[in-house]
């Protein structure tokens, strides 16, 4: 199997997340990130306008993909089937970088109040994007919100299993995420 080789952009993201977790987000400078990644500052600024954008860019892409998958689901799909289509669409775009990043991002978030706030906002953004896409399909507000929250929980849980310790090499994020969604669907029936 060919080992995945990160390019400059990927090395920058990995270096940044490691530094955030080692010394905090605020304390990390662009110079430290480029040094760790082994690239020049001008390479950094070709890829990102600033340190913050390193994290934000991926979040916006993720929300967009989830919404696209929901919008593109077959006309007769139930709200949760549409959410599953969103999870599939977003999962298919997640590659080796995302998988590498998973445990490192969790460590960085655990160590930084700033990154915890950013991570929370990411969940809210994902939920809002999915809610809007569901409402766009004609799903009423309350079930749209609920299905979107289930989608967020499922994606996060699926991602954690996919990128966690003891992971298999050939499993698919989409399978973990849709399995987590199926668990939540079953759980909805036990809520009383």
């Amino acid at each position: 199997m060919v080992r995945w080789q990160p390019g400059a952009r990927e090395r920058l993201v990995l270096a940044a997340v490691d530094l955030f977790s080692e010394q905090g987000y605020d304390e990390t400078t662009v110079a430290q990130i480029t040094e760790r990644a082994g690239v020049t500052k001008s390479t950094f600024f070709r890829h990102f306008p600033d340190k913050r954008e390193l994290l934000v860019a991926g979040q916006e892409t993720l929300s967009r993909l989830l919404a696209e998958g929901i919008t593109g689901a077959p006309a007769g799909a139930t709200p949760l089937d549409a959410v599953a289509a969103g999870l599939e669409r977003a999962s298919d775009e997640m590659g080796p970088l995302n998988r590498e990043l998973g445990p490192r991002l969790r460590a960085a978030v655990a160590a930084s109040a700033e990154l915890q706030e950013r991570d929370a906002l990411k969940s809210v953004g994902m939920a809002a994007a999915m809610t809007d896409a569901l409402v766009g399909r004609g799903v009423p507000d309350a079930p749209a919100r609920l299905a979107a929250e289930m989608g967020v929980l499922a994606f996060k849980q699926g991602f954690e299993r996919w990128s966690g310790v003891g992971r298999a090499d050939d499993d698919r994020l989409a399978d973990h995420a849709t399995a987590a969604l199926a668990e939540l669907r079953a759980a909805a029936a036990q809520l009383g």
Copy 2:
């Protein structure tokens, strides 16, 4: 009807939230807050260690009350009935200050990326507190997470209705929150 008269602590919170919405969180100083509230700086520091704590204190109380209500629900309560007990418990502690704050906080959050992150973290904290309390009652992980997210949605929606424009004077936050939870419960059946 006796009009509610805010004390120094309440005036500080109201002044701060208004200033955050007018000019941003970062740009607002403790001196500006105390001037607007008509109190001295030493009064501010008797109530709060810093500007950040103005917002954090209320959030922690809210999470604690939600969890207490869940933990104290009758042994046979379903997960959603326990969440409803949490909403009742937290709602009962919300007074005129919270109601006054509602629309002002929404304006401040809409105007500030920093406050959006903080607000998102508040939702995550509420969900985590309710999940833990449900798991403590023996609810399995997936239904606990789902019921907790439904509790967050219901509290936020109920709070918005209670503190929104055109609100009635004598309605109860608890009624709005539990009605929103009932809607989500019905919505869960339509998710497919």
